[in-house]
Symmetry: C2
Subunit: 304 residues, 2 copies
Amino acid sequence: MTFKINILGCGSATPTLRRNPTSQVINVLERHFLIDCAEGTQLQMRKFGIKFQKINHIFISHLHGDHYLGLVGFVSTLHLLGRTKDLHIYGPEALGDIIFSQLKASSSYLSYHIEFHALTSKKSELIFEDNLVTVKTIPLKHRIYCNGFLIEEKKHPYRLDIKAIEENKIPIAWYHRLKKGEDYNENGIEIFNHDLTFPPYPSRSYAYCSDTAYLESIIPIIKGASLLYHEATFLEKHKERAKQTLHSTAKQAASIAKQAEVKQLILGHYSARYKNTEDFVTEASLVFKNTSAVDDGDEFNISF
Amino acid sequence: MTFKINILGCGSATPTLRRNPTSQVINVLERHFLIDCAEGTQLQMRKFGIKFQKINHIFISHLHGDHYLGLVGFVSTLHLLGRTKDLHIYGPEALGDIIFSQLKASSSYLSYHIEFHALTSKKSELIFEDNLVTVKTIPLKHRIYCNGFLIEEKKHPYRLDIKAIEENKIPIAWYHRLKKGEDYNENGIEIFNHDLTFPPYPSRSYAYCSDTAYLESIIPIIKGASLLYHEATFLEKHKERAKQTLHSTAKQAASIAKQAEVKQLILGHYSARYKNTEDFVTEASLVFKNTSAVDDGDEFNISF
């Protein structure tokens, strides 16, 4: 029941040797999603032991270089490594041309198919769904069109109470229906579902919000998320700069976390001007206690 | 009188943590040229202490990702760092669109001007010239349009023989003309130039040849070069693979070096399948003795 976030890079645009620009890999129930893919993402994946070919879905927030310039290199490498599975890429409309024109210029005819999903809506929309997981966009406010992503587990099954099931001699054929929440009803015997099961595990969710100005309209979308990654490019002492560049401060990120009643907040996308991240945590914790500042290589597991 | 090559990356397409893909910085008489700009070049420059803003000219050999995917990130960073000087980029025609469409997608209006010089000729041509240095293309044979680059010093001045000049009481106003090779001739006194000067230092040159199949037509262009960088993606034991992919083996690179009578050969662009480079030197040295295999961070100084 894995729900794990690997931080491959959490810096912002100006390159430093301290941290890579933005990229994360999310493993949610063995679906492996790459969110953003800055220059150098491939090497970060090598460094942190992420398996390239497990990635089937890539979500790009926006077309500032520090969020996508590693993408063409990554898709080319998948080809060099002999991929055959389809790869789905979700991102702003112009990204399709950027990818395909570069592949064309290099005369690269990939060994696999890229299905590009252009994101254009300014409202939150469902962009991925399978039997266990959904992904929705979180429209953000930045200098160019930008989306965050909300990754959610669908409702988990009711958990069988084996002791009660054995006592009541429930046939195996019924287990599937009990997991879905049905009451038992056979041969004139009725038993409420809640007498045969425990409640489902709560559905976990991860909200990724980068890059964005302070934006209250995202609160209903990310309400109650298990884990929120919110950009904190600046500290409050540089809040004017945050305003000009449509970025957030640590305090603003914490304010969003508090209002959205998320369980945990992680910060990233620090401006290169800051040498350490302690001040980000100090500032944010005054508003929202369960806050940490991420670093490249960090791994976060969302438990039930 | 610097003529220095800094190897920022010498790997090939498949990314490894051992070495970065291709990029080099050439400092020739304080002109700083960047040749190729793979993903990660910015960080390699940081790592090896190369000053970003000194680069005024970038030469891109071809549009395979391992030679140019760091370019848009690099030009964006120059902007973030406040550049105002023009930047000249030379490369295959499609590169212009690739750069400008990505800048447009990110709504980046650069603080400086990029002058893009599209390379289209299949013959060697002069693409850069100032008072001291020239750069010519070296048409290569690869899967897509590809050029190497020959960087040459122009003829150096005759070196004044101070002792002879003082003995002959040559006025300072004449020094400039003596350096150009003129004979002294004033007030009826004639002195041959060679009695007042030493011969000029020889003109140094650097030939960069990557990526290419074995190609004898480059020999007259690079004839007598002080230093030749020639790709050696494979060893002879994989020469069939070299042939298929239009790359060279170490032995082939050495054969070119020998026929072109260059002074020194350096090898790079090794396939990721090889763990070390000793075998490349062993193989090439049998044909051309003065050979080394480069590694990221290496620096080569061309002396007179």
